[in-house]
Symmetry: D2
Subunit: 340 residues, 4 copies
């Protein structure tokens, strides 16, 4: 079976495995205070063009979202997200576990609209009863989104401007940041993204690492005692070296971006083949997640040799997801295309 | 520099690294639903002599404590622990973050006394105002303790009996379970420990793994929807295979216990040398953590070549901790002994 | 100025004031364990036709909602409510403060549709990823709703049946229960409502009392240690007598229902006058809250002598709320009608 | 039966009842925005000598403690309290429900020692692992204490100085503030107390009111959006007038202090009689709570005519509590003295 099930199905990139092996016998202090983490943070800052950035390594996405959002909010504040945002759907209420409401805005193929955000905020403060409501405290968006779409530089800039106007920090969930930055036609650089937001993370789990998300506060603006908040959330890895070594490797010579590019390239081949063969795409995704509408017969045919997810029915058809990753082999894409 | 700083200073055991490398290109589904996890769970059940046990793999200790305790408690209940318990001191309030109070009992070199526990419970229910107080909901102990001590079978049995009398589940934090079970003179087997408690974990991070704690509900008694609770706590690893592969290796042919035995052996050599050379031990630890009282001159002398922690002053002397691990080389212990 | 601003603008009904005065010098034990509370609970059980019901008196609505919902839910569960539900809008995130998500369904003039509820639940369990989501744990509806509308017996029965099918408790927020039961054309009795749900409350604050909500678990089904949970939420009144005396008075000889009937009667007079004079009602409310669309000139004219709330613009007009209560004087309604 | 059971056994002072009756038919806006609250706040500020103070009225003590402490703390911080502090014992974990740990110091008849506080803080920051611990975020003391004792001006000043040195706000739980200020030999004025702390409350429930605690941030230093935080905690009373009218009455012409003085006077008569008749006092309390050691025969004799609480055995004797209040009649004290 060839898998297009997700981008976290394989181990880690071979360069990481090599580094883990080479460094295995070295002794290092715990909790991210080791030299590997120090080096990885420095490389991350350089990649972001933010020499003053605060960088922390956490293990996984839900954990990172919950920890960052809780750290940035006051108790009476909630987080603005589109309805389809990961924090609003697939994190088992981790945000609410921390005491905060997710304030949901409409989703446009996974994206938030700056105008709708501005309107929501204007309406909130125009409501004479807002003191009885949950205050907006942070804006959460994902790049790339859960639907595979990406924000353009203009869109990100507009959202960032609304946030600034209302003094709301902007948080970009980058569980798939690599695939977002390397998306076909993307006009957003890592440096620009770092400029436009207050905190974001570079997702390792879905792009080459065993685990790990690099949280970046680009303007040296980490909340006070963020280390302790991470610990309180059970998110502090004892052997921080495991995260440090992985990110030190991924951030070396742009490996992270090369891996993402590879995945996007394979996804584009797949998309073009779907379209060429007359299938209808559910959305126009320039990233490593492709959503296509398939009929029952096609699904049954493909399932003999390929693994992929069926999301939900759209009329008579099924919206199916095919995901490529840093580990996807071109010959496997060839095989899938041939089977269409 | 030779390090006796902690038991999580090295990478992972070479057998794990080998397995990670061998399996790296295989595709596996996420969230612990992969075949490696399945195999590791089966081996864990066998080692515990509990074929019906529910087993889950989490990443780290604080996370595991917070998740398990929160899952086992009702909202109006707290957790009984000795004052020096890890959850009461060094977890940044992770238990309270989940809404629960730590109800502290006296510590006897890190251990809870069954008689004192029984007395506390008797006093609680004798207090006519107990409806205004936090109810006891679970008992938390560590094996081995933070002070390197271990419970005997008789002690564990007594605590277990008190728990049963008051219908309180017993939770054993096993971040250093290997070292506890393999402690000099230990009379507790893994099977007996599993019999006597309601939930415990087998700590991987401090005994051979990069990360990972195997949570065992020995009597098929995991709380409903524990998977979702783990996710809600941000403790569900996307690439669960990383944990599965590690525990599958550690549980193979008793590797976990061999690694722990090695560390204890080295620690005993060190302890004997301390005593032979006239140093006073702070506590009588039969495990991989040794606490010895050193004067300033000795500390300065040793610090030239060795890394170890100074915990706190005891009179004119300093209580210093030396920790061995699965990775400690006998020749490094020789060197330290020679330097005394 | 004559006020139609809200139903909690006046003190309390004179019968309550009389009882408070008569009993003031008597000594009574605290925390709701006094004789007044005992008597009030008994009268409440009788009124509900539920001799086995568990009854508790809390102070206010938000507090009651937060305490009851938190007590009924497991940590991984959320509460289903319509979008306009009080808990989802005007409680400053009190539910999320307790760690739970509000799962929002569409609102139909403030009411939940049983069919939509059933569909939501079917979709939830049909989603293969539901283990990563917040589980539904309780259904919350209000009678009368925030929009002044009421559920018919058929509607309540349908919702109750869906709840039973999915083993979900049904919670009815009765902050305005009196006005709901006495609504024009209402076909739901208190006994029927008690039969159909698992917990509800009889709102005192908005119907004759200074403060107080009587929480009823009609089937002797209060969660274990609910008293302690109330205390933990800061919702246990020291001088419980203040609540007991008020409800003992309100439940005596049907006073509560008489007060509610009076308010509804005055509201119906007002509604009929609005309609007769050609104004357009925003919704068809058979209860003490009337929503009418007024133009700017009319608003300015009425504001000279009357207090009422402007909710939000509807096209060129403003949706204005006029509320009657147990304390509304017929002559004040006459005056308003005359001014139209 | 004559009750010395507690200071919240009676209704309210007759002046309050009179005001409630007089104002009952007046219409007032909700949530504490009414004129009674405005007037009561102004009188409270004047009494404290703090014209700039922020004043809020909440319903009860546990609620107030939980709301204020949660509002003042960051998520990674806990509250320092003596072991016997109300928040650490008799609030069912309300502080932990809000996510915060109670960091317990030794109790000296209910009082915190400034030197021990300073030492605790010094030790905390000297511990190299403090980043893994709960940070101290606020200091909580009670005046008068749960044991009936009071802080002298020198003691309060010392504690306040330690707090300032470590930039920790000082919170004084004044559930029995009146009795503390009017204690025999007290050298602390309300103005001085307001000067020395960052937030405190004037307890109404135990001193003349049906309910109500006046929270004072003396230096115009209420946390941002405290109104919303109060609502989020379910602590915002809809008919705030009930609290406003009560405090407006209590703060008028020093009524609050007169009521407290009366209670202390009766308690001193009782204490002197106990001592004169050879009984041993458990503690030396200058306030309205008296603790005396009684034997079984005496208890049985007194219980025929008097209600009082037995706290816990001290050797062969029982520590019994007798409480006077604003409502205690001198003839009832006479009767008790005669029965000794």
């Amino acid at each position: 079976m060839i898998s297009f099930e997700s981008d976290y199905n394989n181990g880690c990139h071979e360069a990481i495995l090599k580094r883990l092996t080479e460094t295995n016998d070295e002794s290092a202090t715990g909790y991210g205070l080791d030299n590997y983490c120090t080096a990885a943070k420095e490389k991350t800052r350089t990649a972001c063009g933010k020499p003053e950035a605060d960088v922390f390594f956490l293990v996984g996405g839900t954990q990172t979202n919950a920890t960052v959002i809780d750290a940035m909010l006051q108790s009476y504040q909630g987080v603005l997200s589109v309805e389809t945002g990961h924090i609003n759907v697939h994190e088992s209420g981790a945000i609410e576990f921390g005491g905060h409401k997710v304030l949901a805005l409409p989703s446009h193929d996974g994206k938030m609209d700056a105008g709708e955000l501005a309107q929501w905020l204007q309406d909130f403060y125009a409501d004479p009863t807002y003191d009885h409501m949950v205050f907006p405290g942070i804006v959460y968006i994902t790049q790339a989104t859960e639907m595979g779409t990406v924000y353009t530089l203009a869109e990100l800039t507009s959202i960032s401007e609304v946030c600034k106007r209302y003094e709301l920090p902007l948080f970009i969930d980058g569980a798939r940041l690599g695939y977002g930055l390397m998306a076909e036609g993307s006009d957003v650089s890592l440096q620009q993204l770092a400029d436009l937001c207050d905190v974001f993370y570079i997702g390792g789990t879905k792009c080459g690492a065993f685990c790990g998300e690099a949280v970046v506060f680009p303007h040296h603006n980490a909340p006070a005692h963020f280390f302790t908040i991470v610990k309180q959330h059970g998110a502090l890895m004892a052997k921080g070296r495991l995260l440090g070594i992985q990110f030190d490797t991924l951030m070396q010579d742009g490996l992270y971006f090369k891996l993402a590019s590879h995945a996007v390239e394979q996804a584009m081949r797949l998309r073009d083949a779907f379209i060429a063969k007359g299938y209808k795409m559910y959305s126009n995704s320039p990233t490593n997640q492709q959503f296509v509408l398939l009929d029952k017969a096609t699904i049954e045919h493909l399932e003999k040799d390929f693994v992929f997810e069926q999301w939900y029915p759209v009329g008579e058809l099924m919206n199916c997801r095919f995901v490529t990753s840093w580990a996807t082999r071109p010959e496997d894409v060839d095989a899938l295309i041939a089977a269409l």
